[in-house]
Symmetry: C2
Subunit: 268 residues, 2 copies
Amino acid sequence: MLLNDRAAAYGDGLFETIAIRDGEPRFWPLHVARLQSGCLRLGIPCPSDEALRADLGSAIDGSTISVEYATAKLVVSAGNGPRGYRRDPAADAIVRVGIFPAAVLATTQYREGVATRLCATRLAAQPQLAGIKSLNRLEQVLARSEWSEPDIFEGLMLDTDKRLICGTMSNVFIATQSSLATPAITRCGVSGIMRRHVLRLLQDAGIDCVVRDIQVDELASADEVFLTNSQFGILPLRQCADLQWNVGAITQQAQKLLAANGVPECAA
Amino acid sequence: MLLNDRAAAYGDGLFETIAIRDGEPRFWPLHVARLQSGCLRLGIPCPSDEALRADLGSAIDGSTISVEYATAKLVVSAGNGPRGYRRDPAADAIVRVGIFPAAVLATTQYREGVATRLCATRLAAQPQLAGIKSLNRLEQVLARSEWSEPDIFEGLMLDTDKRLICGTMSNVFIATQSSLATPAITRCGVSGIMRRHVLRLLQDAGIDCVVRDIQVDELASADEVFLTNSQFGILPLRQCADLQWNVGAITQQAQKLLAANGVPECAA
């Protein structure tokens, strides 16, 4: 009964949104690592890597839509239990997998960037949930409901102390001539798979990127801003409200690195 | 498909836990008012009072357990939608109702009080979600998972600034010889049905109860502490960690008022 499923009752669970390319999950080890870390932090018994991969494989094999270029959603619910916040210590996690059509972005979005807005909905500081992709996502839902204009690709979100944290479904990087930085995800926000992959690529390429607190004012002094997400890779930001940026050398270099390391879309 | 249900995907919805007594929902108007207010704040199209009451009535009529003394759980999901945080503007809310056995408390719990602990899990300040009973309840789940001792009835929760806010599933009132107060539910916490009912009863009886910020230190100087909840009414608190309180005249008076106004259990 759905009323007993803790994901549906309390948002008690986690999820991953995984790019499927040529029938295979992209960056599977990164997704599994985040999921297992999230389960550990929430106290949810996490299925093994092999079991999760088998569930995903079955969904891919049984998909009624093409898995050449698709998006998988993998949800881990804390399981079934009696009414009340207390979990049944004997309950097993429940895994649900669905295969969805993937959004295909235009070349111009990769080359010329996308427009965003600054969301009024703020992210609350809750270190116990920061970084993980839990099923408690009302803040993102409220932020995303703030606009319906199709030309606004994403909304940037601040925490309650006006720090820039992320987009509703992406992470953000800001660059000046001399520095590259991305917000720390220690109080709120989701630590994205693509953010982690890009940070690693930059490091390996000898490009310094600092993970730190970023005040919203820094957007105005940034020379370049870009977004990361597991589905699209890197997209330059050309606008947020009345601020505008050019697509610059740092963003293009990061896209080039990414295109050569698992995300060919970025060479669009 | 469950993956498309926004309650299961993002905790995008609200719920009510309603005492069923002699086959009828107790304090139905208060539950409906909170649910409708929550839907309005979250932008979820709320079914009408009549439609919700009909769904509850069907569940009561079809219940396989006795509805003389039971608990109904009524969940409103924001509905089905495509993958992603953006809601389908055309989606209708989905209502789910279940009837569960109600906990029957011992007379000694009403007369001598219950023991609590102070939870390490803090409530994040998020005014946009404060007061409503949304399906984003991981903080309560984590707090409730902190203990398994059966003699600990409830856990008290603080916000990130060390203010006393509530229990995991109850509201809290503290009294000294000269004052009675309950925490403001403006930054976090759930504004309980029984809390509202008790506040009204106290007001009607000419007893001042102040709704204000309460620092955790005030627990140590309190003469009496009690909990409210839609199922049990009022329970005195006799202990929280190393603090102890007697069951005093204010708590007993509140229980007496409540017993005469809809919650006869409190006369136990």
